[in-house]
C-alpha cells in the first residue's frame, strides 16, 4: 500500500511541477544556481572516475583476451562499447544518485524541516514548481556531463593501453572507430535523459515529502539514494530490452 501511495504522490508531484509557474525573473536565477550546483559541481568527480574506470576497463579487457588470434584493436573496441553503452550512462548515474541525489534530498528536506517550504506556500508560491522545476531543467544538461564521461573514459582507456603496453595507439584508435553504430549513441542518450529525469525528481520527492527533523533528513537522503539507484537499474534493464534486442 505505501508503495502505491508513494508512486501516486510522486506522479502528482510531477504534474504539480509544471503548474502555476514561478515568475521567470526569479526562476532564471534558480535554474542558473542549480546548473552550477548539479552540473558544474559534478564535473570534477565525473571526470576523475571516468578516466580511471576507463583505464581499468581497458586493462581488464586486454588481460582477458590474451590470445594471439584475437586482434589487438579489440581492446579499443571493447572499451568504447562498455564505456558508451553502460559505463558512462549507467554507472555514472549511480554515482550521481549519491552525489546529486543526496544533495537534492538534503537541501529540500532541510527546507522542509525548517519550515522554509511552508514559508514559500504561505506566500502563495507553488513550492514544487519553485524547487523541483529548476532542478529538472538543470538536469537537461546532464547528457553534457555524460558526453564528457564517455570521452574521458575512452581517453583513460587509451592512456592505460599505451602505458601498460597492451596495444599501440594506432590499434586502440582503430578499435575505438570500428563498427560505429549511431543507434548505440541514440540508445545511450535516451537512457541519459531518462536517468536525468529520475535524478532530478526522485530525490526531490524524498526531500519534499519528508517529515521530522535533522535526523530524518539524513535518513531521507539514504532512502532517496537507494530508490534512485533501484529505478535507474530497473529502467536501464527495460530500456535495453526495448531498444537493443
Amino acid at each position: 500500500m505505501t508503495y502505491l501511495y508513494n508512486i501516486g504522490t510522486y506522479f502528482l508531484m510531477i504534474k504539480e511541477m509544471f503548474r502555476k509557474p514561478t515568475k521567470w525573473s526569479v526562476m532564471k536565477t534558480l535554474i542558473f544556481k542549480d546548473i552550477d550546483d548539479l552540473i558544474f559541481g559534478s564535473l570534477g568527480i565525473v571526470a576523475f572516475i571516468s578516466f580511471f574506470v576507463g583505464g581499468v576497463v581497458t586493462i581488464q579487457t586486454a588481460l582477458n583476451i590474451d590470445n594471439p588470434l584475437i586482434p589487438k584493436y579489440l581492446v579499443g573496441f571493447a572499451t568504447r562499447q562498455s564505456v558508451v553503452l553502460e559505463f558512462a550512462p549507467t554507472f555514472i548515474s549511480i554515482i550521481m544518485a549519491g552525489k546529486v541525489g543526496s544533495f537534492i534530498t538534503s537541501s529540500i528536506g532541510t527546507m522542509r524541516v525548517t519550515e522554509q517550504i511552508d514559508a514559500l506556500e504561505v506566500m502563495g508560491i507553488n513550492a514544487i514548481n519553485y524547487l523541483v522545476f529548476p532542478k529538472f531543467i538543470a538536469m537537461m544538461l546532464y547528457p553534457f556531463v555524460i558526453s564528457i564521461a564517455m570521452f574521458l573514459g575512452i581517453l583513460g582507456g587509451m592512456a592505460a593501453c599505451i602505458y601498460g603496453g597492451f596495444s599501440t595507439l594506432e590499434d586502440y584508435i582503430t578499435g575505438v572507430q570500428m563498427d560505429f553504430n549511431t543507434f548505440h549513441i541514440t540508445y545511450a542518450f535516451v537512457k541519459t535523459f531518462v536517468f536525468a529525469f529520475l535524478l532530478a525528481t526522485i530525490p526531490s520527492y524524498y526531500g519534499y515529502f519528508m517529515k521530522g527533523g535533522a535526523l530524518e533528513v539524513g535518513k531521507a537522503s539514504t532512502t532517496s539514494f537507494v530508490w534512485t539507484s533501484v529505478m535507474i537499474i530497473l529502467l536501464n534493464y527495460l530500456l535495453t530490452q526495448l531498444m537493443l534486442s
Binding site: K23, T110, T114, E115, D118, A119, M123, G124
Partner: protein, 255 residues
C-alpha cells in the same frame, strides 16, 4: 478582522482541533496561548490556509476562505505575513534578499523601489547594517527581526507569528513582542501570536485565547487572566514557581 467558527482539524485518527470559535480584531495583537502540543501551530496553519480544516469556517474581513476561487485565495495570501517559529529564512539568500523576496515575487516594482522598501522595513525592525549577511551568520534575535521584516514588507493586512520569541533571552523576547505590537498598531494589522510565554501574556496580551487539547478553554485579556478561576488557565499560568509565589502574595494581601 478574522472570524473563526467551529474549526475542526484531524490528521488521520488524531483529532487535533475540536471546534474552535473566536474573533480576532483589526489593529489588535491577539495571543493564542497553551501548552506545547495543544494545537497552536495547527490552528495558525489553518488560518494561513496551509492546512485544510474538515469542518468550520474562517473568514477574513467577511470573506469566507473556503468559498474563494483559487485566484482570490492567492490574492488573500498575498495580504498575509507569517513569522515562523524557527524564522524559516531562506538560507541560500542574504538577509536583504530574504526581505526582498516577496516583493520580487508579487510586485512589479523596480529594483531601486524594492531596495528602498527593504531598507525601510529593515530599519523599522532596527536592523541597520545586516543587509549582506547570510541568515546563518545572524543571531537568533536578529533572525526573528528579519523574519518580521520579511512578513511585513508587502504591507500585509494579517500577520501571524508562531512563538516569535521562543529560543530568545527574556529581554530580547520582550523587544520582539513589543516590536510586533507597535507594527500592528502603526499599520492597523490583524495580528495573531502563538505563545506559551507568560512574559508575552503580561506584556502584549490585550486579547488572549487559551487552547487546551484542541479546545478553546478560555478567552480574555492580561487584565482578567490572573483573576479567573478556570482551572486549566490557572494551571498553565501558575506552572512557574515565580507566578505561584506572586499569586500567593496577592491572595494573602487581599485577606
Amino acid at each position: 478582522m478574522i472570524e473563526v467558527k467551529d474549526l475542526h482539524k484531524s490528521f488521520g485518527e488524531a483529532h487535533i482541533l475540536k471546534g474552535i470559535s473566536t474573533v480576532f480584531e483589526k489593529g489588535k495583537t491577539s495571543l493564542v496561548i497553551g501548552q506545547s502540543g495543544s494545537g497552536k501551530t495547527v490552528f495558525l496553519k489553518c488560518l494561513l490556509g496551509l492546512f485544510h480544516p474538515e469542518k468550520g469556517t474562517i473568514s477574513y474581513d467577511g470573506k469566507i476562505y473556503a468559498n474563494l476561487s483559487d485566484d482570490e485565495k492567492r490574492d488573500l495570501r498575498a495580504e498575509m505575513g507569517m513569522v515562523f517559529q524557527g524564522s524559516a529564512l531562506f538560507d541560500s539568500m542574504t538577509i536583504a534578499e530574504n526581505v526582498m523576496f516577496p516583493l520580487r515575487m508579487f510586485t512589479k516594482q523596480s529594483k531601486s523601489e524594492m531596495q528602498d522598501r527593504v531598507d525601510f522595513v529593515l530599519n523599522r525592525v532596527n536592523l541597520f547594517e545586516a543587509h549582506n549577511k547570510m541568515p546563518s551568520e545572524a543571531s537568533g534575535g536578529m533572525q526573528k527581526r528579519v523574519a518580521i521584516a520579511r512578513a511585513i514588507v508587502n504591507n500585509p493586512k494579517y500577520l501571524f507569528c508562531d512563538e516569535p520569541n521562543s529560543g530568545l533571552d527574556p529581554k530580547t523576547a520582550i523587544v520582539i513582542d513589543n516590536l510586533i505590537q507597535e507594527i500592528t498598531d502603526e499599520y492597523n494589522i490583524t495580528t495573531i501570536i502563538n505563545s506559551h510565554d507568560m512574559n508575552s501574556v503580561m506584556e502584549i496580551g490585550e486579547k488572549i485565547v487559551f487552547l487546551k487539547d484542541g479546545h478553546k478553554a478560555w478567552e480574555g485579556s492580561n487584565q482578567t487572566i490572573f483573576k479567573t478561576d478556570n482551572e486549566a488557565v490557572t494551571d498553565f499560568v501558575y506552572s512557574s514557581e515565580l507566578f505561584k509565589k506572586v499569586r500567593q502574595m496577592y491572595l494573602e494581601e487581599r485577606q
